[in-house]
Assembly symmetry: C2
Homo-oligomer: 253 residues x 2
């Protein structure tokens, strides 16, 4: 986490290139070279090497992220202890509610979507497995932070602040602390369009036997389709139920 004493620059450049390809949804040599601090020929050398190792696919003059990453990614996910027990519950909750259900874990102060299951009426979103998000502006992130020591929360906020993503984002530190307190009380978190306009979530933490959060599970739905009754009554109950089952299985088996 601290800057490496003797970094290998090429490693960094490799991943910069890969992230650019992902961001542009496929890109050519010149396009990439324009965004990374090395020349065309060097980028070309990188890409042909990556292609050789099958980590990128070449399609005409466009390079794309290769499926080989799925091997590493799925492996990393399977190694995450909560994944195995949570997966089936996430699926079930998606079936039951018909909405989009997410599972998030924290890593280095950010959230990573570990798994996602689409119910019948699930919203189409910018979230996908592996995506990183800020913790303060999602129900999932708030649920996780509410069940972590104060110092951890302090550190993360000191590091990242409380940037405003929508008019509803909580940007005031005191208000945020009050919010966490409320979440601890009711054991679930509500996201009222705090990350994305038009999107609300109900999220519950998944805690270990000393009540520290390991992950969080949420149902996300569009404001205009799901009315307040269902959102504030039925959904919290469903989410809490699922979180509970996961906790039981995780902690006592």
């Amino acid at each position: 986490m601290a800057d490496p004493k003797y970094p290998v620059r090429t490693v960094g450049r490799t991943f910069e290139i890969l992230e650019i390809i992902q961001e542009l949804d496929g890109a050519g040599v010149s396009e990439i070279a324009a965004r990374v601090d090395i020349g065309k020929s060097a980028v070309h050398n990188h890409l042909t090497t990556l292609e050789n190792y099958e980590y990128v696919d070449k399609d005409g003059d466009e390079y794309h992220i290769g499926l080989s990453f799925l091997g590493l990614g799925a492996y990393a996910r399977n190694r995450t202890p909560i994944y195995d027990t949570a997966q089936s519950q996430v699926d079930e909750l998606a079936d039951e509610t018909g909405e989009l259900v997410n599972l998030l874990v924290e890593k280095n102060g950010k959230g990573i979507y570990l798994y996602q299951s689409k119910g019948e009426n699930a919203v189409e979103l910018d979230t996908h497995e592996g995506k990183r998000v800020r913790l303060h502006c999602t129900g999932l992130g708030k649920a996780i932070l509410a069940f972590r020591p104060d110092e951890t929360v302090d550190e993360i906020i000191a590091d990242q602040g409380l940037p405003e993503l929508t008019p509803q984002t909580i940007t005031d530190r005191d208000a945020f602390d009050a919010e966490l307190e409320e979440i601890r009380d009711q054991r679930y978190a509500v996201d009222r369009e705090e990350r994305l306009n038009g999107l609300r979530c109900i999220a519950a933490p998944i805690t270990d036997d000393s009540d520290r959060s390991i992950a969080a599970i949420s149902v996300a739905c569009p404001v205009h389709r799901v009315d307040d009754d269902r959102f504030y009554e039925a959904l919290p109950e469903a989410v809490l139920g699922a979180a509970n089952v996961i906790e039981l299985e995780y902690n006592y088996s």
Copy 2:
């Protein structure tokens, strides 16, 4: 695919290191250095750099594959056209049969498991999403090859041969061609413990509108639990049904 004219060695080494970490399920500096052709200190530099980019996690003195790969992997999978339409059918087939259901695509002459869904009684296997397999020894691979031009099959076999993985693996070229012919006839493939002792599969190709295979879907089950009746009657029907739905959705919408 052809060897790069001007390879970037460091890129190759980076992925070699990552693959070693995966294979060893976490490893320390010395352990990795022993398997890769560079010294301890160089490996150390690589690892601290990778950690800095959050592509590996350091846990004590062990390095592990980071969840960041899930972002790239899930992205690559989502880009694969068949995934979106096939996923729900795979889930459904797993529910219906209670067994392990797999979705495979071909890439550079190898198979890659794109998605996997576990039914209630699913066998625990060495397969995971992103894993690569030889095509000739699995039902999925044979189903894909059966619906590709002869020249493609020739090339792949010329390149990789028909290595024997179990006593049941088809290793004779003529026998293999006859097998493909039969698969084309009945539109599904049977794997009779050809890759793994004790494991049988029924697999069906998913083809495009010109009858070329795009992917294949299979049900895998242990020999000793599933009797011949169910294996040769009920399962093929279920698998063919699912493949059919996927094809319809994929080709006509």
